[in-house]
């Protein structure tokens, strides 16, 4: 039967070369016997359509051939738990080291948005390189453990050399943000939030509240704040009002128990806007001279140094805020995914 020959030829192409003849001879004998039975049952040879249907039932040639291979893993079930643990650890610590390295580099060299952007852009490359390196090492371990099980027994299976008493103590406290909040706690948060907002609104009228006795020097000082800082201030006020409003709504709806994650993340994300607003100022001039024509020669250098220091601080703060927000969003996403996966089980 020509169709059977074509089928066996296609299977052969995907078989391990050293066993091709043997396997095909056996498969041919079995399939021909089956074909004979079928034809004897029908009392006639199979039609082309019936033959095609029969071979389709046996399966695609590549899939049939694949069954003759031993099960192969890049990283097998015995090594996988250790691999997964090390991979998570490596990715976490490499990201910590990378973030610190980039922050120091930006601070030491010329701080600019371009270098922050460049640092963020390189994150996927760093992550992929780390994951690939760990995977390669564990693939090599798997290979050695499979190839030389006697010589590398410790690699093939987790060590039996452990004692239950060496396990870490039970974590008594729940993770912050996971504990249910009491009504008193939620009310106290609201009261302190209102007090902070009042203080914030009074500061422009009574600088003493922020600067203490130093406020006396402010009137005679040759410096003043640039208008963008006023906008920044009102953004901060607005965010506090938003947060307070949200808390009041939560209390009224009786939803103070849960951790205010969405609220916190929204305020955190909106908090980036005033920070970014600061960077739109030309030459990063946040502190300016009250009388530039008179004081430029005397205080020009000091103003520049102050603005440079503020720019450096704001850059680091902004980078940290972005990283923290991304990290927490990723954790939130992971928690949602876990809950959904648990609900589906």
């Amino acid at each position: 039967m020509e169709l059977l020959d074509r089928y066996l030829q296609a299977v052969r192409k995907h078989l391990p070369w050293e066993r091709q003849d043997d396997i095909i001879a056996e498969l041919r004998a079995n399939l021909e016997a089956q074909l004979e039975d079928k034809e004897a049952e029908l009392g006639r040879p199979l039609t082309a359509g019936e033959a095609e249907e029969w071979l389709k039932q046996i399966g695609p040639p590549m899939q049939v051939a694949a069954r003759y291979y031993p099960q192969q893993y890049l990283i097998g079930p015995a090594v996988f738990p250790t691999y997964w643990f090390v991979l998570r650890l490596a990715v976490f610590w490499v990201m910590v080291a990378y973030s610190i390295g980039v922050a120091v580099q930006i601070a030491v060299r010329s701080p600019s948005w371009a270098s922050v952007f460049e640092g963020v852009l390189r994150v996927p490359e760093v992550l992929l390189t780390t994951a690939a390196s760990v995977t390669l090492i564990f693939a090599a371990i798997e290979f050695m453990a499979t190839r030389y099980p006697g010589r590398w027994p410790a690699l093939a299976a987790p060590s039996g050399d452990w004692t239950p008493s060496a396990l870490p103590l039970v974590e008594k406290a729940a993770a912050p943000g996971q504990k249910p909040r009491s009504y008193a706690y939620a009310v106290a948060e609201l009261i302190f939030g209102c007090l902070f907002l009042m203080w914030l609104l009074l500061v422009p009228h009574y600088p003493y509240l922020l600067l203490g006795p130093g406020a006396a020097y402010l009137h005679g000082s040759p410096f003043q704040l640039a208008p963008v800082l006023v906008q920044f201030y009102w953004w901060v006020v607005g965010l506090n009002v938003l947060q307070l409003g949200w808390r009041v709504a939560d209390l009224l709806r009786g939803r103070w128990q849960g951790p205010p994650l969405v609220q916190r993340k929204t305020v955190q994300a909106l908090g980036l806007i005033p920070l970014l607003l600061l960077f739109t100022v030309r030459d990063h001039a946040w502190i300016v001279l009250r009388h530039p024509a008179l004081d430029q020669a005397r205080y020009g250098g000091a103003v520049e140094a102050i603005n440079k220091a503020i720019y450096l601080g704001a850059s680091i703060l902004c980078a940290l805020a972005v990283l923290q927000l991304l990290w927490e969003m990723a954790r939130m996403g992971l928690n949602v995914y876990r809950k959904r996966a648990a609900a589906m089980r």
């Binding site: 396997i23 001879a25 056996e26 498969l27 004998a29 079995n30 399939l31 021909e32 016997a33 089956q34 039975d37 046996i58 399966g59 899939q63 049939v64 069954r67 003759y68 031993p70 589906m344």
Partner: protein, 113 residues
């Protein structure tokens, strides 16, 4: 295929895998070649795909549980398999294990009902 159907299919395959090995070992206390073995199992209600059974025979032989020989029958060369000495010992142990599991499951089901 829905998620539930897919889950059932995976669990069914997992459950069948070990049972098929046991059935093949049981049937090969008597000599068979691939196709007659498949027919004999099907006759007892255990249908196995060709693409599952023939590679399984090779694996069991590589593990030393079966022996095989090429022989001519009905003017056609066929590979006949039967249980090896090791195969017989392991089959007896597996059978004991399977019977214990089977009895325990029956007891558990009866207790719940």
């Amino acid at each position: 295929m829905t998620i539930t159907e897919n889950l059932f299919e995976n669990l069914r395959l997992e459950l069948r895998r070990g049972c098929l090995t046991l059935a093949v070992l049981a049937q090969l206390r008597q000599e068979h070649y691939g196709y007659t073995l498949r027919k004999a199992l099907a006759k007892r209600g255990l249908e196995i795909d060709e693409s599952t059974l023939y590679p399984l025979l090779r694996r069991l032989e590589a593990q030393g549980l079966l022996t095989s020989e090429w022989r001519e029958e009905d003017k056609r060369n066929k590979r006949f398999y039967r249980l090896s000495g090791d195969g017989e010992r392991i089959f007896a142990q597996l059978l004991g294990e399977w019977q214990a599991i089977n009895a325990a499951i029956h007891l558990t089901i009866d207790n719940i009902q």
